[in-house]
Structure formats: C-alpha cells, structure tokens
C-alpha cells in the first residue's frame, strides 16, 4: 500500500516510534478486541464489547504506559502534559497504532474540543490546571451545546448563567449529550449577557457534571434501541468563575474554535475504519452470493470508491499539514462524505443480507431488549450521522458560505 512521502526526518521518527510501540505495548493487547471497529461516536451493537475492552487489564496497563510517556495527547504543550509534537507526528502515532492493531488512549472526543477552547482562549493558569487533569483521566468531558430549542441554531441557547459571588450558577436544559457515561465535567454555552445581541450574550463554562451539583441526566433511547445520548437538567449547577473560558460574552467565539477542532490524527486513520467496515460487508456479500448480483456489485464498488476518496483526502490533509500548507477545502465536505457514505452502506447492507435483515438476533443474545446485529445497527444508526456534529444541511450552508462565497441567506438576527 502506497504511503505518503513525509521526508527522512519523519520516516526516522516513524521507525523509532514503531519500535517503541512494539517494545512497550503489553503482549496480547491487539487481540483483546478490534480496537478500530467503531468508526463513529456511536458504538451501537458493539457497545458492550467496547466497554469490556476498555476495562481489560491489558488496556489499563497500556494506558499507564502511555500516560507515563506523555503520549495521551502528545501534540499538547509540554507544560500541560504533552510532548509538543507536531500534528503530523501525532498522526503518525495514530497510523502506527492502527497498523499494530493497538489502541491510542484518548479521553473521549469531547476532550479534543475542550482542549482547543483552553489552548486558544484559556489563560496559562487554566491550561495548566485543566489539561493535565484530562490527560490523567480525572476529568472526563461531555459536550453541552444542543438544547431542546437550539439544535442547528446553536447561538440560540437559552440556558442561563448568573454570577453569584465567585461562582457562576447555571440553569437550563441540554440535550443530545454523547459519551456521557463516566463524565464528570461538561463544557457548555450559556447566556449571561441578556441585553446583548444574539452572538454576544454567550459564555463558555466548564461545569462539574455531578448529581451533587444539581445536575440530573436522563438517557435518551435512540431508534437503534441503545441509549448513547442523554438529556441534562441543570438546576442551579455551580462552577467557580475560574471555569469561565475566554471571558463573559465571548462564548460564541470560543465555541466556534472548538467546532473547527482538527481531531488530530483522526482524519488519517478514520478512513481505515471505514475501509475495514466495507471489507466486512464485502466478505458477507461474497459469502452469501450477493456480490455476484450485478446491481449489488455496482453499489459495493460505489461504496468502495467512497472509502477511497476518504483515504485520498485524509492523506492529502496529512501531506498538507506536514509541509505547512493550508488545509484543502475538501475538509469542509468530509462530514457530508462520511455520513452519506454510511447511510448508503447501511441501505446496501440490508439489501445484501436480504429478508433476514428483518429479523433481529435471538432473544437473550445480549443485555438489551432490542438487540440488533452490526448491519441492522449501521442501517439504523447511520440516520443519526447525517444529523449530529452539525446537520448535513448546516454543512452545506457552511460550504456555500466559506468555500463557494455565495451570497448569504437572509437571516434574522
């Protein structure tokens, strides 16, 4: 398989890193599970398997080794527990871990977002307090943006923040919080400056996310049967003013910076997950003969081409980062590509499985009363992919604005 030419220095770096990973990773770690099976934030039918894997002794051991070597988020500054690595170096870490079938240890996808907020808008004191806690796993974040009346229109959040002494007191409701289990912190947007214009009334706060802090959570059961999101009721939840990032009224700017977070190393390996998922479906189609049916065969190739486009664009992004060139505009369409690929692959999977796709796995096969198999789960869960992380309609609007420079739609302020 062709690999990007990153120059001698980075190739030496790769070789040394790879040797270190082989020497340091606990034997058997790669066999615990397929660490790269879940390609989106939803683990779906693989949820229990994923939880078990993360609780295994080998994973815990690996976590400690990476932590001791500042390799959880190596691209963060040394002062906060990173190694000052470049984005490319961290991407190489992701690639080599994938190649060896061992996991990178990270603290949930929300950690990348809050780190961007802290590194771009936080004070030095805030950075050195909060970031090492994330690395050590003491603080695990979830995201508090969406509200019942504020989904795509993020700046319309209604949750209120009021200053009382040296604390901010937050009241309101958040929803669609993903990866909420095990979280003890939430980063959120709340309205503090009621008399200011829409985008200047918001403040970005890191909130202790605990029942004792007047936070109540209620899991939301999805159409897949699983409950991987929750809604959160904040009834006078308190945070020290130290936890306000980027000043009062500046929350929209801080939130925007997190939305532009480059999930370091993710673009480089995410296509690998989509590829292996495609090959799992192909194996099934070959086994049951569907791959010989011309129409299904053509759709399989179309899906394969989509995975290759993601590969090419991921590699191009890495090439640009490593040579200091501005990211290509295709970064703006990445979300449309993968989410629509996923929905199409889910449809295709059902046609490949055929009428059996109507039947769920036998009762009692798993802990959930609505267990579905991997392909049923993809078919259902991929309906969410075109909605979360900015609906595809919002993504198209962003492309029209930023990439194409089309005249703006009229907006109410």
């Amino acid at each position: 398989m062709a690999r990007l030419d990153l120059g001698t220095d980075l190739e030496e770096f790769r070789a040394e890193l790879s040797d270190w990973l082989v020497a340091s990773a606990p034997p058997g770690l790669a066999d615990v599970t397929d660490w790269y099976r879940d390609v989106t934030i939803l683990a779906g039918s693989n949820r229990q398997g994923r939880l078990d894997a993360y609780q295994s002794a080998l994973y815990r051991e690996w976590e400690a080794i990476l932590m001791n070597n500042a390799m959880i988020y190596p691209h963060w500054p040394e002062s906060v527990g990173g190694r000052d690595w470049s984005t490319t170096q961290t991407a190489i870490l992701s690639e080599e871990c994938f190649r060896l079938g061992i996991p990178r240890v990270r603290r949930g996808f929300s950690a990348d977002l809050v780190a961007t907020a802290l590194l771009t808008h936080g004070t030095a004191d805030q950075q050195t307090y909060f970031l090492p806690r994330i690395i050590r796993g003491e603080d695990r974040y979830c995201q508090g943006y969406s509200e019942p009346n504020s989904g795509s229109d993020l700046a319309a959040v209604e949750t209120k923040g009021v200053v009382e002494g040296n604390e901010i007191v937050i009241t309101g409701q958040k929803v669609w919080t993903s990866e909420f289990e095990g979280c003890n912190m939430m980063f959120l947007l709340c309205a503090t400056e009621q008399d200011k214009p829409k985008h200047k009334r918001l403040t970005f706060v890191l909130l202790p996310f605990e029942e004792s802090n007047n936070v109540t959570i209620r899991p939301i059961r999805q159409m897949t049967g699983g409950a991987e999101f929750c809604e959160d009721f904040l009834d006078g939840a308190r945070a020290p003013l130290f936890n306000v990032i980027g000043a009062f009224g500046n929350g929209w700017q801080v939130a925007l910076s997190t939305l532009d977070t480059e999930r370091t190393g993710e673009a480089v390996v995410s296509y690998l997950g989509f590829e292996s998922q495609f090959y799992r479906l192909l194996a099934l189609a070959k086994e049951n003969g569907a791959a010989r049916e011309p129409r299904l065969r053509d759709r399989l190739v179309q899906s394969y081409i989509r995975t290759q486009v993601m590969r090419y664009q991921g590699q191009d992004t890495l090439a640009r980062i490593s040579s200091g060139i501005a990211p290509a505009q295709h970064c703006l369409s990445a979300k449309l590509l993968w989410s629509e690929h996923h929905a199409a692959l889910g449809n295709l999977a059902m046609d490949i499985v055929g009428p059996d796709s109507m039947v769920r796995p036998p009762w009692g096969a798993g802990p959930d009363p609505y267990d579905v198999d991997e392909w049923q789960d993809l078919f259902l869960a991929s309906r969410g992919g075109t909605i979360y992380a900015g609906t595809n309609e919002i993504q198209r609007t962003i492309i029209a604005d930023r990439a194409l420079g089309l005249p703006r739609e009229p907006r109410q302020s």
Binding site: M1, A2, R3, L4, D5, L6, L282, A285, K286, A291, R297, D298, L300, V301, Q302, Y304, I305, Q308, V309, R311, Y312, Q313, Q315, D316, A319, R320, S323, I325, A328, Q329, H330, L332, S333, L336, L337, E393, Q395, R396, T397, I399, A400, A403, L404, G405, L406, P407, R408, E409, P410
Partner: protein
Amino acid sequence: MTITLTPSPEQDELRATARRILSKSLASWPNGVVEGVDAFDEDLWRQLAESLGATGILVPASLGGFGGTLPDLTGVLLECGAAATRTPLVATVLAAEGIIASGNDDAAQARLPELAAGALIGTVALPESHGPFLRAENSDAGWTVSGTTQQVLFGARADLLVVWARGSDGPAVFMVDGTSAGVTRTPLPPIDLSRNIARLDLESASATLLCSGAAAEAAARSVFELAAFCLAAESTGGAQRCLDITVEYAGVREQFGRLIGAFQAIRHRLADVFTEVEAAKSVIAYAAALHAAGDPDFSIAASIAKSHCVEAFHRAANDAIQIHGGVGFTWEHEVHWHFKRAHSANMLFGTATQHRDRIADLLDF
C-alpha cells in the same frame, strides 16, 4: 513505496503556463465549432505542443521529451478540461504511451521525438474500446493490418495510429501510418464538438510490429488506464469550471429581489457539486501520484478516477445548466459544451459503470 501528493513549484508553474495559453481559448468561446468535423484548434495545438511541450511530458528526455511524470501532465489536463479544448493532445499522448509501453526501442527512436514535439498527431485503437480486434497478417512484404475500428479519438487527422491486432501468434501492437495505402479515415459527426471521432477502415494496411503476446496485452492495459486517467483529469477540470461559472452567475443574477445564490435550494445544490468536485480533485491527485511511484494500485485508481470524475462532471454540468436557467439551455452559453464533454468522457475507453465492474474484478469482489 512512497508517494507525493502536493504539487511541486515546477508543476504549479507548468499549470499556470497552460492556463495562460488556454485563456485565449476561453475568451474566444465557442472555439472551433464551425470549421467542420475533422477540424480542431490548430493554433492552440501548436502552442500546447511547441510552447508548453505538453505532448512530450511523459516521453523520455533522450527521445525529445520532458522525461516527466503523470503529476506533471495532470495540471495541463485539468486546464484543458476547464477550457473545453478541441485538440488531439490526449490522443497523441496515448499514442506515445502505446509506443513506450510496447518497449520497442526502434519504434521509440523513430517516432517518439516527432510525437513529443507535436510534429505528428497520434491516436490509438484498443480492442474492446474500439470494436473487435483487427486482423494482422505477416508475409514476405511485412505485416499488414485489416479491419474496422470505431470512435477513434481524432482518428481522421492522425498521422500515426497505434493499434492492437490479432495475428496467428495472438494479440500484437502495430504502428500504422494514417496516410498509407489501405487506410480510410472517416470523420464522424460527434455530439461533443470538442472531441473529434472517426471510423478507421484498414485493408491490408502496411504496419510495423511493436510487440506481441503478453507484452501487447500489458501495453493495452497501460494505454487503457492512462486514457481513463486523462479523460478523468480533463473531466475534473471541466467540473471545476462548471462549478466556478455557476457560483459566479448565482452571485449576480437576481430574482424576487434577491441574488439567486442566496436561495438555499441553489446553495445546497452547489455545495453538493462542490463535494463531488473536491473528491474528483483528490482522486486525480492520488492516482497521478501512484502512477509516478510506479505503484501497481494505479490500475484501480485509474478506474476509480474514470468512474468518479466523469460522473462528477456530468452532475456539475447538469446542475450548471439548471441553475443558469434558460440561458444555460442556449447554444451560445458554454455550459452545453461541458455537458457534452462529460458524455464523451464517459463513453470513451470504458464507461463509469464498466470501470466499476473492472474494479470489482481487480479486487476480486
């Protein structure tokens, strides 16, 4: 095996020069329509061949070429696609590739310098892409080739034909002079006025054997894949052009007191075109890089490119017509040229669907 995806300064420069040359072609739209079925933009052809050396980019330097790689040629093809040029550039590049891939040194030394300089117009006729195999016969007087090939790119004006024919020893590659006795070149009226096509009837036309057997099959594969890539690259340039002019139009055309580009129906449709065009550009850059590295995965990448890029082009041109409204449906507007080019790009050297079938075969689906 490592690849490089970002263009070098030299490649950027080459592309910029091509754009300068082609800007005249864009300014004098529509180019070359009225001159007849076997005409083309000769002035532009001379500039591309002589000033830019585009015909010789892939030809070794020792044989009068530039000794370059496919990423060097890619920028030129993207620009030619954007300008919807009517020249035998791709046909000639493919004829040169046929000779290079045959590994016949005598033929290479005899003809590549002229092809590289654009002094000769070349073209190819592949089995399957252009009808059944021609028949080859050997006698004391040498080889002759007979049979009919269809839809040969710029075939009516080609000085040099590289053709595949089957003799008693199996498939073989031959060179035939376009003007030699026994060759009848009939221009056909094309739906796409920028890509001339012709039927070639050969009747015991005298031919030079380049190679045979497995080497001939390998050469056919190599030309077929390069052809797929070239048409995909031109299509990508054309698709980008369609997107650009439509975005521009949507920014000046007003209806209901608003620029039409401010309507979500238009914005989102163009965002989808953008997504497909960006994908096409990535596919082209990656495929070219694989070719330059000599990576065997180019076989699959060329078919991915053909499948994706011609479909992206069709969609970009189709949506450009729709968004331009009545103006986009007129003969005077350039967009129908692109729409028709998307069609010929799809039909030549294997359709998008056929290339997907090829991918499935190559990957053992």
